[in-house]
């Protein structure tokens, strides 16, 4: 069922880094393509929330979203992942983008429900903000900066 996955290697430095923001959490994501950048955003977000090694990829959630532009699309992607986490009580570890355009994305995320015996939820991430959101591509390398409210 998940044979089309780009296998996720948890060399997390490749996916994201944190930057300082006084009130909240600043994250910069990286990818060799726009698809990979969005995958990195999912991995980075959930690496901050929990220990990804403890999460089994057993539940599958289809995601289709749109945005008014690419930055809005990224925020909406993170919004959707946070919704699955906060309301559906999921921890997600694998992310696949099937189709992506400036204003449209189709893909899925895989993970499992939070099990208080097994998982540690390290941080409560309230939301992905638009503050200073930036997405750029230079010489085939994509990156994006997002500030999360904690």
């Amino acid at each position: 069922m998940f044979s089309q996955h780009t296998s996720v290697t948890f060399n997390l430095m490749e996916h994201y880094r944190l930057f300082d923001h006084t009130a909240d959490l600043g994250m910069e994501f990286f990818g060799e393509s726009l698809k990979k950048l969005f995958v990195s955003a999912g991995i980075g977000l959930f690496d901050v929330i929990t220990d990804l090694n403890e999460v089994n990829p057993s539940w599958h959630f289809n995601i289709e979203i749109d945005g008014i532009d690419i930055e809005d699309l990224l925020i909406n992607w993170l919004r959707e992942l946070l919704y699955l986490h906060q309301v559906k009580k999921m921890l997600l570890k694998e992310f696949v983008i099937d189709e992506i355009g400036e204003t449209f994305l189709k893909g899925y995320a895989v993970g499992e429900p939070i099990d208080e015996e097994k998982h540690v939820v390290k941080k409560e991430v309230k939301a992905a903000t638009y503050h200073g959101v930036e997405l750029r591509e230079e010489a085939g390398q994509w990156s994006a900066r997002v500030v999360f409210d904690l």
Binding site: L18, D20, H21, T22, A23, D24, L25, G26, L34, I68, E71, D72, N76, R79, Y83, Q86, V87, K89, I100, G101, E102, I114, V121, K122, K123, E124, K126, A127, T129, Y130, H131, G132, V133, E134, L135, R136, E137, E138, G140, V147, D149, L150
Partner: protein, 497 residues
């Protein structure tokens, strides 16, 4: 999608501008940001020379200038001395917009709608608790849901949630968790008018279903303290406070319900703002005209979340009273746990203010700022009418907190607003780095403060050095005349998420 080189020069230019903000000294406690570029009004920052150094180190002065770009802003874009870098609006920001020509902005309220503080006085003296703090803090920690995604014992049906949206703290009291006096001592009687449950999304209701009566995580806390200094005995007596008295300070908000309301409307208004041809310096400043269907819808949904927060803090106080009664084996009439006041510090309110001699209806945004109304104001509870509204200003977990009182000067200058806390100095990331190898809860115990928290990282992120010195903050607001010190509280023990 075809790859393209994205042009970020505008964003980069804006960031550079942010670092170039010039502050002009007005007096020892006030600094002006002169009108420049698209700013419709100047900015004004309350700060001492000493505090200015940390303020200038982050982007909060630029955020004060950014807010000044928004339509209908009245007089100036303000920031309190606890200000620091937020998202869109600075934390510690106050901005008032004309109700007919101005905007309302979810970013000007924040995600934790009606995050606020509630101070409870008790009939206990320091000697009654001196040797029992550790057990009391354990009992509070065991009984009050705290931490990431904490779920409460109160399960709400959708119908209940909608009633909470309208009735706020009154719903909690009606359901047996409190008394009528609690409502009298809560800002706006614990329920903003104009709440429309139909303006709230299903997702917000889903997030709020099991979070009433939960403290949450991050900087939220419940602290047992004592009054260790009285500055104004007349006002302190009116507030029912005296030296040596044990108090409880609760800091929490609207939990996931409010975060979702904010996020839903940022999403909607980011699209909507494109139709208004506004050139916003930051997307997080997305807004709608207050007097428009979109603005009205946000304001009604925000009122629902504000009311959820008041219901939540009321429930938290009730749980606290129950723990005290059991732990000290005392009846309520002997414990005398009385609500001094509950005040919001993340909110937008429709208020009437006199601007240049003319009464105007304004939408006042307080983002990390507290309402500070003076004696005689109709919105001050009857019991405090002769002295003014209590202002609750928590410090970091190792240092003092203050109770102040509103002044006429605040009405004239800050739309009746004051600071809300110490204000962060270090990012959470930097605080964790600084705390490496240290045992923060032990350091706190050495200072005489018993701390219980779920995560080690929470304690590191929240350690005293991560915050400005609260005494510097209150020195500025008192020096500027926008609030007056009444009593100082000293922490004895606290629980955190």
């Amino acid at each position: 999608m075809k790859k393209k080189k994205r042009n970020n020069t505008i964003a980069e230019k804006k960031r550079t501008m942010a670092q170039d903000i010039k502050l002009e000294k007005i007096d020892d406690f006030r600094w002006s940001i002169p009108k420049a570029g698209g700013m419709r009004v100047p900015g004004m920052i309350y700060s001492s020379e000493k505090m200015l150094e940390s303020i200038s180190m982050d982007q909060s002065p630029a955020q004060v200038a950014n807010v000044a770009h928004l339509p209908g802003i009245v007089k100036y874009s303000l920031a309190m001395p606890d200000m620091h870098w937020g998202y869109g609006f600075p934390i510690g920001g106050v901005a008032a917009f004309d109700a007919n020509e101005g905007i309302v902005s979810p970013g000007g309220v924040g995600y934790d709608i009606n995050c606020g503080c509630r101070l409870v006085s008790t009939g206990l003296q320091f000697n009654d608790v001196r040797n029992r703090i550790s057990g009391l803090v354990d009992a509070l920690f065991n009984q009050i849901p705290t931490g990431v995604g904490s779920r409460g014992k109160i399960k709400l049906s959708r119908g209940d949630e909608k009633r909470v949206c309208i009735e706020g703290a009154k719903w909690t009291v009606k359901n047996g968790l409190g008394c009528a006096d609690d409502i009298e001592h809560t800002e706006d009687g614990g329920a903003l008018p104009g709440a429309d449950p139909d303006a709230v999304s299903d997702r917000a209701y889903e997030r709020g279903i099991d979070q009433l009566g939960t403290l949450g995580s991050g900087n939220h806390f419940l602290e047992v303290g004592l009054v260790d200094k009285v500055y104004d005995s007349l006002t302190a007596a009116a507030f029912g406070l005296h030296e040596g008295q044990v108090t409880v300070l609760i800091h929490s908000g609207s939990r996931g319900f409010g975060y979702q309301v904010c996020d839903d409307f940022l999403h909607k208004l980011t699209k909507h703002v494109r139709t208004l041809s506004l050139d916003l310096p930051d997307r997080q400043l997305a807004c709608a005209y207050f007097d428009s269907p979109e603005g009205a819808q946000y304001f009604s949904a925000m009122a629902c979340a504000a009311n959820y927060a008041w219901a939540n803090r009321q429930a938290l106080m009730h749980l606290t009273r129950e723990v005290f009664e059991r732990y000290f084996s005392m009846a309520p009439r002997d414990l005398q746990m009385r609500l001094v006041y509950d005040v919001a510090h993340n909110i937008a309110k429709k208020e009437v203010h006199v601007v240049d001699g003319v009464k105007r209806t304004l939408c006042v945004h307080r983002k990390g700022a507290t309402r500070a109304f003076p004696a005689g104001h109709p919105h001050v509870p009857d019991a405090y009418k002769t002295v003014g509204q209590p202002i609750l200003i928590p410090g970091d977990m190792g240092r003092n907190s203050y109770v102040m009182v509103g002044t006429e000067k605040a009405m004239e200058e800050t739309f009746g607003s004051c600071c809300h806390g110490a204000g962060r100095l270090l990012s959470r990331h930097a605080a964790v780095k600084k705390a490496k190898g240290r045992i923060i809860y032990r350091e706190m115990e050495d200072k005489g403060v018993v701390v219980r928290a779920h995560g080690r990282s929470t304690l590191a992120e929240e350690m005293p050095e991560a915050y400005k010195d609260i005494s510097d903050v209150v020195h500025v607001v008192e020096g500027a005349g926008i609030a007056k010190k009444v009593v100082r509280l000293r922490p004895l023990g606290l629980i955190k998420g």
